[in-house]
Amino acid sequence: MAYYQATKDPTTDIRERTYVPELLHGLAVTIRHFMRNLFFPRDTNTDVLNRTGTSQITTVSYPEEQVTYPPGYRGLHRLVPREDGKPRCVACYLCATICPAQCIHIEAGEYETTDASADSRVIEKYPTSFVIDELRCIVCGLCVEACPKDAIRMDTGRHTPSEYTRSGFVWDIPRLLEGPPVNHPSDPWLKRPGSERPAHAHLEKHARIGEGLVPLKLPRPAHPVRTEVTSGPVPVTKFLRD
């Protein structure tokens, strides 16, 4: 039987009927909290779950104390630079396509053939304008997932700072471009003559935000479901594809 009768009538009890005893029990709870929180100093660890100590105060005094967001937290966008300082973005518009809030506006441009830097840069397309209206953004993270170039990420661990005007929330390339440069071995500009050819295109590692390394994907048999024989709880480990 999967259902059970859970209703009850506390007023059948004399303690309940006479109001006071159960009220005193309630008071005991609050007074206990009061005394603990009054007399014992607060643990200022911003990770509330890991606080120790007798005080039970869970407030985090922002802005003096700031919670650090877990890895994979969807924060403010950033454009990932490559080694020459330009954004990795190639203006493919996938982020603008998948954005449910339609907050991304891109305009594409082409490097001139006469541009000296164009010789080694096979990606002749680049964003002349890449604008995110952070007021429209709903922080769903779909753009990060949709990017085929690892060019946009939301791993800044920050929120959009406040502004006085609406147009201040419109982030363009100079504001968005931050963080260390990132290169993947398969990047086209690394594959041209004059640059080293990757020994094995599959060996590159890329961490999806919050996920860790995604291992090499090769034709493989169906995954056998491993069963752990243990009495204790099986730790939730990362996704392992054998």
Binding site: R15, T30, H33, T59
Partner: protein
């Protein structure tokens, strides 16, 4: 630990010290006033009206304006801070004052008092257009809510009457011989403020609040009065100083019902109201809560239902409502202290000896000590009221009426008759005390024996495969195969 020590030292040294100081200053100033204006003075007579000399001005200054007002003001912050502690929060701590080194400390949120006051005063004082017709009544609302409550404090003795410079100086603004009747009479005036506010705002929500307030306060007047009659009967007086009595003389609540002595200090069961009239105490406490319109009796406000009778008020007008609520808390705490908790008496540990020794040799010090004891009891009761307010949900309007008329009133009558009978039977109050202690014991017994939690704890109790099908309604049980 640092924090614990700090708080304990504040609680043990600073607060009693300040209270002691206020009391001491009141006696001294009262003595000085009586001395400098002897015209008003008739004769030295203990336990008589204190108003015959100018010393009442001193009581007004120190007890009403300084103690009651300041305590009420502090309670506005204390309410937030203390509720924060019961709810695992920090509470107000952002208002900072003074030089850089002081700004590091929040001082327990105390600067918020100033910040709030400033805010209230300088906030825009709006009046809804609909309230234009009754602008005088609209203005009168907060005044009438504030004044009677504040005036209640006039008859409360904040300490014993002691001889200073040869004049009997009491810690009471006035000691009319109708004593408690004054309290009941004036307290019932406060209802005008709230109902006027509700009506003059010309707002439906405010009107509902005003009407609720009026009926609630009027209903609980009865229980409030009735619950005190037992004490009046027991001590045959309506005057508060008499009710409190004198330790030296062994009168009033200062007397011991059963006396004992340990290490030269006398211990025993004092004739405090709470021992004689626990039921009366509960009734009075409940009714007093209803009078203050605070949770669980905050139906006139009911901020999640109708927001309250002061819905349309802003600025200091709203502030007046707020402060009058806290004054009510203080005054009612003081009344309970005086009537049920033995007033300024410690009730044990050499109370009598102290009165006979120190009271004779340094009457002002003794008076100040008693004043501090009284004030500490008041502060404790204020704290208790605040905790109660933040623990309980509120009643419904009709439940309040039911409670008032169908529970408190019969209980009050029963208490009165029973007490009167016991007093008649034994004027030494022992039987009354026995009955009272029995009541307390029953209550404690009920509280300490907890019912084992019924099946509730889900899975284990529900049990795999031990279905309680029969408990399900027939339709439901048949619906499920």
């Amino acid at each position: 630990m640092n924090r614990t020590l700090k708080i304990l030292s504040v609680a043990i040294l600073l607060v009693p010290g300040v209270l002691f100081g206020i009391s001491w200053a009141q006696y001294r100033v009262g003595g000085w006033l009586a001395e400098s204006c002897p015209v008003f003075h008739t004769q030295l007579q203990l336990c008589d009206t204190g108003g015959t000399s100018l010393a009442w001005v001193s009581a007004l200054l120190f007890h009403m304006l300084l103690f009651v007002m300041v305590l009420a003001t502090l309670l506005t912050v204390a309410e937030r801070k203390w509720s924060a502690f019961t709810q695992d929060r920090i509470g107000p701590e952002r208002a900072r004052i003074g030089p850089a080194w002081m700004r590091k400390h929040s001082f327990g949120g105390l600067p918020h008092v100033a910040a709030d006051a400033l805010k209230m005063i300088f906030k825009e004082n709006t009046r809804p257009k609909a309230a234009d017709r009754d602008r005088i009544l609209f203005w009168l609302g907060p005044v009438l809510a504030f004044a009677p409550v504040f005036a209640l404090a006039a008859v409360i003795p904040f300490g014993p009457t002691v001889p200073v410079n040869g004049y009997a100086i009491s810690a009471q603004v006035a000691n009319p011989n109708f004593g408690l009747l004054y309290v009941l009479a004036i307290a019932s005036l406060a209802v005008y403020g709230t109902s006027l506010a509700g009506w003059a705002s010309n707002s439906k929500f405010a009107l509902l609040g005003g009407v609720r307030a009026a009926s609630q306060m009027i209903s609980y007047e009865v229980a409030l009065g009735l619950s005190l009659v037992g004490m009046m009967v027991a001590f045959s007086t309506v005057q508060l100083p008499v009710l409190i009595g004198s330790a030296a003389a062994g009168t009033g609540q200062a007397q011991y019902l059963w006396q004992g002595s340990v290490l030269g200090l006398d211990f025993g069961v004092p004739a405090w109201g709470i021992f004689l009239q626990p039921l009366g105490f509960l009734l009075f406490f409940t009714a007093a809560f209803a009078e203050t319109k605070r949770a669980p009796f905050d139906v006139p406000e009911g901020e999640s239902e109708i927001i309250g009778y002061f819905l349309e008020y802003s600025g200091m007008k709203f502030g007046t409502f707020m402060i009058s609520e806290f004054i009510e808390v203080v005054v009612l705490s003081a009344l309970i202290t005086a009537i049920f908790l033995g007033g300024w008496h410690l009730g044990f540990a050499g109370d009598v000896a102290l009165a006979q020794g120190l009271g004779k040799s340094h009457p002002v010090l003794y008076g100040a000590f008693c004043g501090a004891v009284f004030a500490m009891k008041v502060v404790f009761l204020c704290w208790f009221q605040l905790i109660v307010r933040w623990t309980f949900p509120r009643f419904r309007y009709d439940q309040i009426m039911t409670l008032g008329w169908k529970v408190l009133l019969p209980l009050g009558l029963f208490n009165l008759f029973a007490s009167a009978a016991l007093v008649l039977l034994d004027p030494s109050l022992h039987w009354l005390a026995v009955a009272g202690l029995l009541e307390i014991a029953v209550l404690a017994g009920l509280t300490l024996t907890r019912k084992a939690p019924k099946s509730g704890s889900g899975h284990e109790a529900a049990g795999h495969g031990t279905p309680d099908v029969h408990a399900l309604p027939a339709a439901a049980a048949s619906a499920h195969h």
